[in-house]
């Protein structure tokens, strides 16, 4: 008898399908991760809560650095003290794998923390996925955003722990 997919609903399967390589981006958003989407979301949600943060705060910080760096028009500029940010974009838009309207610009943000020397790179799609869905991409994906790395490089301080779930339903 077929294994019941009780842990992941039909729509989750469809969303995970859209994250496969070649559907929206060349390498997809799952990398080598073999876990179900629900499991990936739960694990990252737990990681974010352990850091004392929320998805909204992380995304807001990403946007803050992006907006400050946008003035560079594709060149690196120093913003907010000790961050070097470069915002660049290419033509075209990408849909989000989750089912809702709107397309994300293909915009890349490189943030280097000049104090620690560490660097992260994220896209507008990344920021949206984190903010609206708590999705940080699968392990091994070229655009995987590790919550701990983001918190460290972007210097996000822990919040007062939020008693509710971090993932918007």
């Amino acid at each position: 008898m077929r294994e019941t997919r009780v842990k992941q609903s039909l729509s989750d399967d469809r969303i995970q399908d859209r994250m496969r390589p070649g559907v929206i981006t060349r390498d997809g958003m799952l990398g080598e991760d073999r876990r179900k989407l629900r499991d990936i979301l739960d694990a990252d949600d737990a990681a974010v809560r352990r850091l004392g943060l929320t998805h909204a705060r992380i995304a807001a910080r990403m946007r803050e650095l992006r907006d400050a760096g946008a003035r560079g028009l594709g060149e690196p500029i120093q913003v907010l003290g000790h961050f070097e940010v470069r915002v660049d974009s290419v033509r075209g838009r990408l849909p989000c794998p989750f089912p809702h309207p709107g397309l994300c610009r293909k915009e890349f943000v490189e943030v280097r923390n000049l104090r620690s020397g560490e660097q992260v790179m994220f896209t507008e799609l990344n920021t949206h996925l984190i903010e609206a869905h708590g999705f940080y991409e699968g392990a091994g994906s070229p655009f995987r955003q590790d919550p701990e790395a983001l918190a460290r490089v972007l210097e996000l301080d822990p919040d007062i722990p939020d008693p509710g779930r971090a993932i918007p339903s």
Binding site: M1, T4, V6, K7, L10
Partner: protein, 197 residues
């Protein structure tokens, strides 16, 4: 058993000998597709239709083809083939009538073919040597009972998600089985009202 009329069998198949809660047949899609009342209603109707129709058809095939030609041992294959054909028919009808439902059911629609409850209904009717009307009643009742059970389950699960906090370890199959067990216990209260054997 010969004394039981159409309505008696219908009633008992729905309540006292519910094919899902008493005989534990058809659990797969019951657990997998019972999160929302809307989808469950659709699936329940589909299963009801298939069970009712195939019970009658299978009875006809059994009594008029298999028995006279002494091919009773083929009943498993033949029943499954009839069920499979009917599920294809139902799929076409659903796709034509309501694309929304068709998409919502997804893989569970063709999975009705291997729903044990449907084959079970046909086999029970053979084991218990039902007449035509008894078989019809039983098919209708089993399908109705299954649909009722999945609707009740969906209603409970939907409410549960809104009102209470299920412990993380029990989310999904855990709580679903607990609910199913509790429902089965409740239906046991009907025991003895009507005996199908």
């Amino acid at each position: 058993m010969q004394q039981l009329g159409f309505f008696a069998i219908l009633f008992s198949a729905v309540f006292t000998n519910n094919i899902l809660l008493t005989n534990y047949l058809g659990m797969c899609s019951f657990l997998g597709c019972s999160r929302e009342v809307k989808t469950s209603l659709g699936l329940g109707t589909a299963v009801f239709f298939v069970t009712a129709a195939t019970s009658v058809l299978n009875w006809l095939v059994y009594v008029y083809i298999l028995v006279p030609l002494d091919l009773v041992y083929l009943r498993f294959i033949v029943f499954i083939v009839v069920i499979a054909a009917f599920v294809q028919l139902v799929e076409m009808i659903i796709e034509r009538v309501s694309e929304t439902l068709y998409l919502a059911l997804g893989i569970f629609l063709p999975l009705i073919t291997v729903n044990c409850a449907i084959l079970g209904a046909s086999l029970f009717m053979v084991i218990r040597n039902y007449t035509f009307w008894q078989a019809a009643g039983y098919g209708l009742g089993a399908g109705l009972g299954w649909a009722l059970a999945i609707l009740a389950m969906a209603g409970i699960r939907q409410r549960l998600v809104q009102r209470s906090r299920v412990p993380r370890g029990l989310e999904g199959p855990g709580i679903a089985l607990i609910i199913a067990g509790t429902m089965a216990l409740a239906f046991m209260g009907f025991n003895g009202m009507v005996s199908l054997n």
